[in-house]
């Protein structure tokens, strides 16, 4: 099933008309039809450019949640070789919302961890909609410590609406699992590159988000609270999510301006869901560059820079 976002509907309509015209032209080519096709192609390109280069934050949030958007394991497949998935936190269980393992990223051996969403009900049951339990965060830390031990850099791919707010998660101390990662990641003696590839949902995102370089895909968002949650509290209704998205300054561009994000990873026109390969190539290059920038830093300097990076965040008088 193809998911068409509200603001993309005029584009899809034009695309369908164009298809129809092309079909007619293919059946019975005429000069008139050829001119019409060319004209419509031009109009489509203009419309796409107009819509996609003026996206408001709420539209980006919708793109970041698009069901056809490449997910963590899609990027692993497209960016990495020899992925070896490793399971379990060694205490309670495995968390399929947070796959992790060894991978080779553009020739570099790395440990990669991230959130994985599902595209249909069956997948979402398995992946818990990308909302990890404490076991996911603890597995992530276990593997990041392996990375430190074997001197492999770490790549984290963030894509979660938030950590799971469930009874078991609370009983097994989801808050501590996240907090402990924040503390421990600050001191891991190996380079860390974090990329928000889709949804950067609050503490659940930050729980694998302490890094030497924090990148964001062009249409990803990163926020302390979901726009709907913020709207429900401040405007008393979720319908005000678009205003909340604007107010929260959650887009890659806004967050770069606030000094939270070090780089924006470009996406194909209209978003990564239109072209997985191009999006993946873009991500692959950006992460490889960040890893290259970090790999020769002495570890003391790396850790000082990481500390100072987060130490400097916040504005006050």
């Amino acid at each position: 099933m193809k998911q068409v976002l509200e603001f993309e509907k005029p584009i899809v309509k034009l695309q369908e008309e164009l298809e129809e015209l092309r079909r007619k032209h293919a059946q019975k080519p005429t000069e008139k039809l050829a001119t019409q096709v060319a004209g419509m192609e031009g109009r489509l390109a203009d419309l796409q450019k107009e819509v996609y280069t003026n996206l408001i934050p709420w539209q980006r949030v919708q793109i970041s949640r698009h069901i056809s958007r490449p997910f963590m394991l899609d990027y692993i497949r497209l960016c990495c070789e020899d992925f070896v998935e490793l399971h379990g936190d060694r205490h309670i269980g495995d968390d399929n919302a947070m796959p992790a393992g060894f991978a080779t990223w553009g020739g570099r051996r790395v440990v990669v961890v991230g959130h994985q969403k599902g595209r249909d009900t069956k997948e979402n049951l398995l992946r818990n909609f990308g909302s990890a339990h404490p076991e996911g965060y603890r597995k992530a830390l276990r593997l990041m410590r392996l990375a430190e031990k074997f001197q492999l850099p770490i790549v984290t791919l963030i894509d979660t609406p938030g950590a799971f707010p469930g009874i078991g998660a609370e009983e097994r101390n989801i808050a501590e699992a996240i907090a402990f990662n924040l503390k421990e990641m600050m001191l891991l003696k190996t380079p860390i590159v974090a990329v928000v590839i889709g949804e950067g949902g609050s503490g659940g995102a930050l729980g694998i988000g302490i890094a030497d370089r924090v990148l964001m895909m062009e249409n990803a968002y990163y926020s302390v609270i979901s726009p709907e949650g913020c709207a429900a509290i401040l405007w008393k209704h979720r319908e005000h999510a678009p205003e909340a998205a604007q107010a929260l300054k959650l887009s890659a561009q806004d967050l770069t301006g606030l000094g939270i994000v070090d780089g924006i990873v470009p996406e194909p026109l209209g978003g990564a869901h239109h072209d997985h390969e191009t999006a993946a190539a873009s991500l692959k290059a950006a992460v490889s560059q960040a890893l290259a920038d970090l790999e020769n830093l002495p570890v003391d300097k790396l850790l000082d820079q990481r500390y100072e990076k987060f130490r400097g965040m916040g504005k006050m008088a």
């Binding site: 707010p165 469930g166 907090a179 302390v224 107010a247 929260l248 987060f310």
Partner: protein, 283 residues
């Protein structure tokens, strides 16, 4: 009432009843009418049933430090509207006027039973003690001072979570405070986290759960997600006492539940084991 009887955040609506102009206040737990002065003398704990009322940061400090030993730090740090968030600064100003506080946390140096420590005391009366840049910065500075001076840190938490009016900057205070604690811990210095009613969200998911020792006040609410969110997400009945101090103790998530009247002596006893101050006294 059962040991799992839970306080809801809406209990804090008690604030009006809690600190009224009048001479008497009604205990929200046992309905006993309490004489204000007697309640204040009893550290704002109900003399009838032991219910712990919300307490101001000033009263909290007085109740735990050696008399006159507290010296406040960074008292002037003020919030700014970094995001252009409509109405935010008006809100901050209103709370400053109402509480007489600059922000939702008071930090400083003190001694507790003669042991020196850096303190951070959150005050729920100020915007639900939500964590924005100033709260994160003051706590981070207190931790960094403790690391530099080789002292213990004690944080009394109470918070509705991250302050959404500061957006991502609030979220990053979790990273900042936890990072400072990482360095403090690497220097082998002790951190005691005390959880009070209510401790939730981004504060729970950062410094509040990172203590070498974690203490909770009786019956306080502690959690990551709010109980309503958990209920709505899981469509399940919440277990009795879910997200209370007693529930946390039962699940092995806190070291002790300590009543307010015993807090000072408990902190003193712990500091004597975890810092050199006990050893020098013995010598």
């Amino acid at each position: 009432m059962g040991i799992f009887k839970k306080r809801s955040v809406s209990d804090l609506g008690e604030k009006k009843k809690d600190m009224p102009e009048g001479l008497w206040v009604k205990c929200p737990s046992c309905n006993e009418s309490l004489f204000q002065e007697a309640l204040a003398k009893n550290l704002r704990v109900c003399t009838n049933c032991g219910y712990h009322f919300t307490i101001s940061s000033a009263e909290r400090i007085e109740s735990i430090v050696d008399t006159g030993s507290f010296v406040e730090m960074d008292a002037d740090l003020d919030s700014v509207d970094a995001l252009g968030f409509k109405g935010y600064l008006d809100k901050v100003k209103a709370y400053q006027k109402k509480t007489g506080l600059m922000e939702a946390v008071v930090t400083g140096r003190a001694t507790i039973e003669s042991c020196p420590a850096l303190l951070a005391i959150m005050d729920f009366r100020f915007l639900g003690a939500s964590m924005g840049s100033v709260v994160g910065e003051k706590i981070t500075r207190a931790i960094e001072a403790a690391t530099a001076e080789r002292k213990a840190v004690i944080v009394f938490s109470a918070s509705g979570g991250a302050r959404m009016h500061e957006g991502i900057l609030s979220l990053m205070q979790m990273a900042k405070t936890s990072g400072a604690l990482a360095r403090h811990a690497a220097a082998q210095l002790p951190y005691i986290s005390v959880l009070t009613h209510p401790t939730t969200g981004g504060v729970t998911a950062s410094f509040a759960t990172l203590g070498d020792i974690i203490i909770a006040e009786p019956k306080c609410m502690i959690g990551f997600a709010g109980p309503r969110v958990v209920k709505e997400t899981t469509h399940a009945d919440l277990p009795p006492g879910f997200q209370t101090a007693e529930f946390m103790l039962q699940h092995g998530l806190v070291d002790q539940i300590v009543e307010r009247k015993d807090m000072r002596s408990t902190l003193g006893a712990l500091l004597k084991y975890m810092t050199p101050c006990g050893r020098t006294q013995a010598a």
